[in-house]
């Protein structure tokens, strides 16, 4: 039997992303966001996660996906665990948890450029779609 990895998937700007299930703390509906003036541009604010203050990161900006369309708001938040504390990403839509066979993973194409390259660990060839697997690295995700 082939080894598999479990990924939690989500959608941002039509692109599907995945993150290892054991990194994901929870997925919640959108919470009020407190804007932080002067913060690094990747930080979109702070949320109150049951008494814990969690920094929210704008993945669109980090992945250079372009801003959210006028009048639309992120509907979901995905909270992940990193070695330096939790981070929250506002996302468009949360997908399923998928079991992916090890052989379907491939390294990031060498021709890929930009900051996205530092955030993406590998590419996963799912039928009909390519899944980009994110690295759970605090500093890279927060762009500091």
């Amino acid at each position: 039997m082939n080894k598999t990895r479990q990924l939690c998937t989500f959608v941002l700007e039509g692109q599907t992303f995945g993150i290892p299930v054991d990194c994901v703390l929870e997925v919640i509906r959108s919470l009020p966001l407190t804007h932080v003036p002067l913060a690094p541009e990747a930080v979109c604010g702070l949320i109150n996660l049951r008494g814990q203050i969690v920094t929210a990161i704008d993945l669109r900006r980090r992945l250079e996906l372009g801003p959210l369309k006028e009048g639309k708001t992120a509907r979901m938040n995905i909270i992940i665990r990193t070695s330096e504390g939790p981070l929250c990403f506002p996302i468009d839509e949360v997908g399923d948890v998928v079991d992916v066979e090890e052989r379907l993973f491939e390294p990031v194409p060498e021709t890929m450029t930009g900051t996205a390259r530092k955030l993406i660990d590998s590419v996963c060839k799912l039928p009909g779609t390519l899944l980009l697997v994110l690295k759970g690295d605090y500093a890279e995700l927060a762009g500091i």
């Binding site: 804007h35 690094p40 008494g51 330096e84 504390g85 981070l87 605090y138």
Partner: protein, 761 residues
């Protein structure tokens, strides 16, 4: 790390604290059998576990110390200074090995045979009869001097092996005399530590001897992280409770109302109790001080008795941590400069033994700590003369100052009265650092003196740093918390109090004085939302600087729980943390010091920008556009950099520099900051300062900081400077004549782009 080893380390560190404390006490009261037994017991506990964990080196030292102690306990050898020092050295050796264990999980290979030999040699009583020597041959088994105790021990010995508390408690009960404690020691120790600790509570009839039982008798070690997490949850429970109470207010169901009422009560009490879990008696800090005082006093040839009052005063552990350094420094100061030498004291008709009193108490919601010495006091005239000499005050001012004011000059930067720099308190860390450290946590410090009699240093600090009183203000729809320790007053801006400008700098006239002001929205670059029509002025104090902050609305005053910001935001110096408001929203807590310095920087940049625009409008090229420069020297030349490119100036010691990814880095403000040697970057030879200090300019952009290593700062100059573009040289903008000297203008942006491009894309 191995769980067992870890537990051993935590416990042994604690034991060694106790060991040291008791030893110092024993020095004062050398005949106390109870103290000797206590010391013996702690060392024995360490030794016992050593054997179990196979730590032979540690065991050997502890064993030698224990042998000596047992002789002291049995009165074979009388306790003296030499023994005290040797036993303290034993404590240090044990700690050193513990530290080694913590780091490498091995005992290390330091040689302690000399110490062991010393301990053995001290076991020979100086001039006592042969009889006692004979006795010492079997020190532990030797019949204690009191015959009555013998049967007790005989009964107790077999108990040793089975780990049972009950028989052990019976043994001392048979003999209610205090001496029984000495006998009890060897019995109790092999029993598992927790059981041993639990005993005093169990044996009520015997436990009535004073100071017999300590607070630690019924405690559980809890991870601080867990407490913090619980704190969070309780905070959240309070919010939920508030919502529920609000929702049920409109309902008419009586049982529901009653349940709500109960929930309300329980939550409040829970919150209250939870807060208490984070406090520690100040003794946690004080118990380490007698050793410091003893060692220092010996070094200066002084006799000093340290007394404490109110050691049980409780403080949040974070506060205790924060006052540790300033407190130690002040105490060192008292020992070094406060108390006179025995000869001087005798000449002045005082007891040759000086006395330092540490006193702590709660008053007006703050904790007051006093350090009182009965030394010669501070010589007011000398302080005044020194302050004049250093240009800290003007002669006019000196004439009108009260004694109290003069004494407190010693907290000013650049003041140090020690005639010669001693290696004790004249370490270059002045009293101004003490003051800054205390003010940082919202405290105050002040000094008063009575010439010839005493000096009192009074520190007032908040009970906790985790919960602070704040005022919530609104600015363009966002809410911010301002700590009340920084807040002086709140005023409504109207036609009686209007913003005016002094050369681009906004000010208000407040009771006849000009107060510089900053607009919160411009400092924080908030562009969303609308300014309110009526605005308010919050008068703030950051150290010695006062300034006004313009905000839209003033909400309520609240006690809030401070929560840290993630690492992504630590580079933003304007915020001290965040908190959760009553409605569950997050609000940022303003750091008034950070805000003040940012505002100052902001204004100079804006002035520079305005100047630049003006220059452009007049068709002047890049000739002159800098108006505030930091001048420094590097690699043998004079160089300068626009002040608004400088985030901070920092000094590090050379040892702090580490190597990471082929680059020199330093730990700075909780993250890693790469260093760039400016002299090497500019193509000069690297010069190394002789004092082992490294001066750096911290350059920060987009939340990333880089340290530019320079040789030393010279001055800050203002004014229009004519820049001569020098040929295209990397990192250099051009040169200019500043203060009649040719000065190279450094292009920090370009430098960082070349030398640390990976950090600033």
């Amino acid at each position: 790390m191995n769980e067992l080893l870890n537990e051993f380390l935590v416990e042994s560190y604690e034991n060694m604290d106790q060991y040291e404390g008791s030893l110092i006490e024993l020095e004062k009261d050398p005949t106390s059998k109870k103290l000797v037994s206590a010391i013996f017991r702690t060392l024995h506990t360490v030794k016992g576990t050593c054997g179990f964990l196979g730590l032979s080196r540690l065991e050997a030292i502890a064993h030698a110390g224990e042998n000596l102690l047992s002789l002291v306990r049995d009165g074979v050898v009388s306790f003296n200074q030499a023994i005290a020092s040797a036993l303290l050295a034993t404590g240090d050796a044990v700690r050193a090995i513990l530290a080694q264990l913590e780091k490498t999980e091995t005992e290390g290979d330091l040689d302690y045979s000399e110490l062991v030999a010393l301990l053995v040699s001290l076991q020979k009583p100086a001039a006592e009869g042969a009889a006692s020597v004979a006795e010492s041959a079997h020190p532990t088994k030797a019949a204690p001097t009191e015959a009555r105790a013998v049967p007790v021990e005989a009964e107790a010995v077999p108990v040793k092996a089975p780990v049972k508390a009950a028989p052990a408690t019976k043994a001392p009960a048979a003999d209610p005399k205090p001496e029984s404690k000495a006998v009890k020691a060897p019995v109790e120790v092999p029993v598992e530590a927790s059981a041993a600790k639990a005993q005093p509570t169990a044996k009520a009839p015997e436990g009535d001897s004073p100071s017999g039982s300590k607070a630690s008798d019924s405690t559980v070690r809890v991870n601080v992280e867990l407490l913090d997490r619980l704190m969070n949850l309780v905070g959240e429970l309070v919010l939920t409770r508030n919502q529920i109470v609000q929702l049920t207010g409109s309902l008419e169901s009586v049982p529901m109302q009653a349940a709500c009422h109960r929930l309300n009560h329980i939550t409040t009490e829970l919150q209250d109790r939870m807060m208490k879990t984070r406090v520690q008696p100040i003794d946690a800090l004080w118990s380490k001080l007698p050793r410091t005082v003893r060692d220092l006093a010996q070094l200066c040839g002084k006799q000093i008795r340290l007394e404490t009052e109110g050691a049980e005063t409780e403080l949040d552990r974070t506060v205790i941590e924060a006052i540790k350094d300033p407190m130690t420094h002040l105490l060192r100061n008292s020992v070094d400069h406060g108390v006179e030498s025995p000869e001087e004291r005798r000449a002045a008709g005082k007891n040759p033994e000086g006395r330092i009193l540490l006193r702590a108490f709660h008053a007006a919601g703050l904790v007051t700590i006093e350090i009182i010495d009965d030394g010669g006091g501070i010589k007011v005239e000398r302080v005044k003369a020194r302050a004049l000499e250093r240009n800290l005050i003007t002669p006019e001012k000196a004439a009108t100052m009260s004694q109290q004011e003069v004494v407190n000059l010693i907290f000013q930067a650049g003041f140090s009265t020690a005639e010669k720099v001693s290696n004790i308190s004249g370490r270059g860390v002045g009293m101004d650092v003490v003051k800054t450290q205390i003010e940082k946590i919202g405290g105050m410090v002040d000094m008063s003196t009575e010439v010839g009699k005493s000096t009192t240093c009074r520190i007032k600090i908040p009970l906790t740093l985790a919960i602070i009183p704040v005022v919530i203000v609104g600015c363009r729809g966002d809410r911010f918390a301002i700590p009340q320790t920084n807040l002086l007053e709140v005023i409504r801006l109207d036609k009686n109090l209007m913003v005016e400008t002094v050369h681009e700098t906004p000010v208000v006239r407040l009771r006849g004085n000009l107060l510089p002001i900053v607009f919160l929205d411009s400092v924080l670059a908030i562009k969303t939302g609308e300014r309110e029509e009526t605005q308010h002025l919050v008068v703030l104090q950051a150290g010695d600087r006062h300034f006004g902050l313009v905000v839209d609305t003033i909400h309520e005053a609240e006690e809030i729980v401070v929560k840290p910001l993630g690492r992504a935001l630590t580079a933003v110096s304007c915020f001290a943390g965040a908190t959760i408001l009553g409605d569950g929203h997050v609000a940022l807590i303003l750091d008034i010091f950070g805000l003040g310095s940012r505002a100052a920087m902001f204004q100079s940049t804006r002035a520079a920008n305005a100047f630049e625009e003006e220059a452009k409008a007049q068709g002047v090229g890049t000739g002159a556009l800098l108006n505030e420069l930091l001048v420094f020297h590097v690699g043998g030349i004079r160089a300068a950099m626009p002040l608004d490119m400088v985030s901070r100036l920092e000094e590090f010691s050379r040892e702090q520099i580490e190597e990471a990814a082929g680059r020199q880095v330093i730990q700075y403000g909780g993250s890693i900051m790469p260093l760039i040697s400016l002299s090497r970057a500019l193509g000069f030879d690297e010069t190394k300062s002789s004092d082992g200090r490294v001066q750096t300019i911290v350059y920060a952009r987009n939340g990333r900081a880089v340290g530019l290593v320079i040789d030393g700062v010279e001055e800050i100059v203002r004014g229009n400077i004519e820049v001569q573009p020098a040929g295209r040289r990397s990192g250099v903008l051009g040169s200019a004549v500043i203060g009649k000297q040719i000065t190279e203008l450094i292009d920090a942006q370009d430098l960082v782009r070349t030398h640390a491009s990976d950090l600033f894309e």
